[in-house]
């Protein structure tokens, strides 16, 4: 990729605080050229903050950075890019109305005398697509793409800049299993060709498999840096949370015999979704698997009435929904944790408390007024039970770390105490400990009789949580597998290869 050799990076005494709250403290870190450096830690540990400082997105309050022993000042993203550092940020940094092509080469367009040469860019993109194995239509607006594909666009952009250092903030969080593998392979190839990679991820196995060394952050402090070969997931978790915890998947309680069907859908169709039938019983967790773009998200949205199906019915407790709107679904006891917390889930500039309370406002009012003490109690309790770490529930939710935002989104829907919970990517961007908490939460809810439909690109998680897994391909169910099926079988089905498995 790069012609210049990647530099060695030395971070010394870097610190950062927001309105008096320290989020990074005295960080010393050395990264060797061509190294893959893993960065792990709980939600809110300060990983993104550190990356943003390296990428020039924010300025550190204290400390210095040097490249190849030479101290540099990075005051802006321009400076960082100038030094060959490219940041793929957690929140995503695409320009919605521009095409894939324009986003990949953002501010680096090929041009002749100022006139953009789309042809040259197209050629460059074709090359990049070949190296990465991604496939994206260069001409569509990026905001029409699923987030998985958007993530690929961001990766392509970092590569297009020929960066010598690429800092990736949870790049795999939104990718499906096989895409993750692709990306990890890509990272290895890049490292082999001399690019330095800093990788933030909550998938410890993944970090262990690809990183040369791993740094653990906790509460803004650097706990330890060491070779990946000398540690284990268990040890890492220990460092991250400061105590031993159990990160095994909980087993869902078996669905009681004769448990009634709560949610049923027949012949759902719209756009990509081409005839989905499903049934979920009380106490059951139905997993939906599939490749990116297989229509999993679309299906959940149709179940919730977020989009109006062109054909088919959704029934709750045997009664068809009165209309295909979120309101009707909610009235019938359905809740949905959407895929993208930024676009569909949260009102970013409002407070944590307001966001959590939003979908259940009517439950706590006297006349037109919000019962504020009741709200405070309810929000406080639910926040505790999903473990939202916010300094202040009144601060804007955009100041929370990604994982904590996800937990707030979860809390918002649990406050409604729904009968049916539809979850799209339940643990996207959530740290290991919290992930386990969410898994326990989901199985616990099912054990209490809730019907759960869960979409996850993390196949292990999906198989561990679900009583049953439905595989979608091109918007159509292509198989249903009972608990205990191996990941290989499900992935094969998702790819359209049925030879390995049996439909139950």
């Amino acid at each position: 990729m790069s012609t210049q050799k990647a530099p060695s990076i030395a971070v010394r005494g870097v610190g950062k605080s927001y309105s008096g709250v320290t989020v990074l403290h005295d960080i010393d870190l050395d990264i060797a050229p061509g190294e893959v450096h893993g960065l792990v830690g709980e939600n809110g540990a300060g990983k993104s903050t550190l990356l943003k400082i390296l990428g020039g997105a924010i300025k550190a309050d204290a400390g210095t950075l040097s490249f190849d022993g030479e101290q540099v000042s990075i005051g802006s993203p321009r400076d960082a890019i100038g030094h060959g550092i490219s940041l793929i940020s957690q929140e995503g940094a695409l320009v919605p109305a521009l095409s894939v092509l324009d986003n990949v080469f953002l501010a680096r367009w090929s041009h002749r005398g100022g006139l953009v040469s789309a042809r040259a860019d197209r050629k460059r993109l074709t090359g990049l697509l070949e190296t990465t194995g991604f496939s994206v239509d260069p001409d569509v607006r990026v905001d029409t793409l699923p987030i998985g594909v958007q993530q690929q666009v961001e990766i392509l952009r970092a590569l297009a800049r020929g960066a010598r250092v690429i800092a990736m903030d949870e790049p795999t969080a939104v990718l499906a299993e096989h895409e993750k593998e692709n990306l990890l392979a890509l990272i290895r190839r890049l490292a082999a060709s001399g690019t330095t990679i800093i990788l933030v991820s909550h998938f410890l196995e993944e970090v262990l498999s690809v990183a040369d060394r791993i740094t653990v952050l906790r509460d803004g402090a650097l706990i330890r840096t060491g070779p990946a070969a000398e540690t284990s997931p268990r040890a890492l978790v220990g460092h991250m949370v400061g105590r031993e915890i159990d990160v095994l998947y909980p087993d869902p309680r078996p669905v009681p015999d004769g448990s009634p069907v709560v949610l049923a859908a027949r012949g759902l169709r719209r756009g990509l979704v081409d005839g989905v039938d499903l049934e979920v019983r009380s106490g059951e967790i139905l997993g939906i698997a599939g490749l990116v773009g297989s229509g999993r998200t679309e299906t959940l949205r149709l179940l919730f009435g977020a989009d109006r199906p062109t054909a088919g019915v959704v029934e709750v407790d045997g009664v068809a929904l009165t209309s295909n709107t979120p309101r009707a679904a909610m009235a019938a006891g359905v809740a949905m944790v959407p895929e993208s917390r930024k676009e569909q889930g949260l009102v970013m500039q409002r407070s944590v408390a307001e966001n959590v309370a939003l979908s259940s406002l009517s439950g706590r009012r006297s006349g037109p007024f919000v019962k504020r003490p009741a709200e405070k109690t309810a929000v406080g309790e639910i926040s505790k039970s999903v473990d939202i770490r916010a300094a202040n529930p009144e601060s804007p939710i955009e100041t929370l770390s990604g994982g904590n935002q996800q937990k707030a989104l979860f809390a918002k829907w649990l406050l409604r105490d729904p009968k049916v919970l539809l979850i799209d990517e339940p643990t996207r961007g959530v740290d290991v400990a919290a992930k386990t908490q969410i898994h326990h939460l989901i199985t616990g809810l099912a054990a209490d009789g809730m019907a759960v439909v869960c979409v996850s690109s993390e196949i292990e998680e999906l198989l561990a949580l679900s009583h049953r897994v439905l595989v979608l391909r091109h918007g159509r169910p292509v198989g249903e597998y009972p608990r205990g099926t191996t990941p290989e079988v499900v992935v094969a089905a998702a790819f359209g290869d049925h030879s390995q498995g049996e439909t139950s």
Binding site: R372, K376, A391, N392, P393
Partner: protein, 334 residues
């Protein structure tokens, strides 16, 4: 008027001292524009001996009433993510309706009819914007042309008056009342206080912010985005109608060109107060601060008797000063 939700004690008992510090900074930051207002008030009190007289303060509030009402309506719409450029046309049309209905019935019935007309026009504006799916800026712009046109058609381009026997009681809003304030001021304060409570304390208020902050997230949370917008337009319509009644009551008549262009001054007041035009943020008290600031600057110049040739320049600079100060206080503590 009431002030926005004060943050309560933290739910998590974490680092308390740092927390309180940041809480204080957080509050300060939100009141930068108030500080700017206070600075200007102090400057005026020191440099004139007429500014801090009760007579002038009564005037000041009276002068703020119309703009304050419109700015409140504008703020509520902006919080919910829409602009209402029909405000001044709605003002004219409802005032005309008020006068005309008053002619055949009674002044107070006329007033009530004007308010109803304002609500109805707001409902129509909202429905047009929501149904057509057109951006509210251009949707309400077109609608405002229609309303102004209707006002011309209803009046035939002339001025309409209450019947002579009602002419005096029609001026009721200009009469002095409680604490020597004019009735218009009293009405303004009461209406704005009620709206401030609605916006900051009710479930509707919460929904307003959610819709303006992220309409899709709000919709997926079961909020009827369309009806929240329609309601915001209706509130704005009522505010416009009340402002129209104040103007009509002062003039003793109504006409189709009333308050032309004032919808923009209202939006300006809202934004000067610190409400973000991007939606999802802002507060009713900010509308009032913005309206007061704009009125104050004019009032100050008049009292100081400075050459009007420099007024505009200084006015512009003062507004820039106020909003920049607000902005910097906010940024520093971010």
């Amino acid at each position: 008027m009431s002030v926005d939700t004060t943050p309560q004690a933290p739910a998590t008992p974490s680092p308390a001292a740092a927390n309180n510090m940041s809480r204080l900074a957080f509050r300060m930051r939100d009141y930068g524009i108030v500080a700017a207002l206070v600075i200007i008030v102090i400057a005026l009190s020191l440099s004139t001996d007429t500014f801090l007289t009760s007579g002038n303060l009564v005037n000041l509030l009276d002068q703020t009433a119309v703009l304050g009402l419109l700015a409140t309506g504008a703020t509520i719409c902006i919080i919910s993510g829409v602009f209402d450029l029909t405000a001044s046309a709605t003002l004219a049309l409802s005032a005309i309706v008020g006068v005309q209905v008053g002619r055949v019935t009674d002044v107070y019935v006329g007033f009530a009819a004007a308010v109803l007309a304002g609500a109805l026009l707001g409902f129509i504006t909202g429905t047009v914007v929501v149904r057509s799916g057109v951006n509210s800026f251009v949707g309400t712009l077109a609608t405002s042309l229609v309303y102004r046109g209707l006002a011309v058609m209803v009046t035939g381009g002339a001025i309409v008056y209450p019947l002579t026997q009602y002419a005096e009681s029609f001026g009721v809003l200009t009469w002095p009342s409680l604490f020597g304030l004019t009735s218009a001021t009293i009405m303004f304060v009461v209406v704005v206080a009620v709206l401030a409570v609605i916006v900051s304390r009710t479930t509707f208020g919460r929904r307003l912010y959610a819709v303006g902050g992220n309409a899709e997230a709000a919709r997926l949370s079961g909020i009827r985005v369309g009806s929240i917008h329609v309601t915001a337009f209706m509130i704005s319509g009522v505010c416009s109608a009340l402002a129209g009644l104040i103007l009509a009551s002062r003039a003793g008549s109504a006409q189709s060109t009333m308050a032309t262009g004032m919808e923009l001054t209202a939006i300006a007041a809202a934004v000067v107060g610190g409400t973000s035009i991007l939606g999802g943020e802002g507060a009713v008290w900010r509308a009032i601060v913005g309206a007061l600031l704009l009125t104050l600057i004019g009032n100050g110049f008049n009292l100081l008797g400075w050459d009007t040739i420099y007024q505009q320049v200084l006015q512009g600079l003062l507004i820039l000063f106020a909003v920049t100060m607000d902005r910097w206080l906010r940024k520093r503590t971010r």
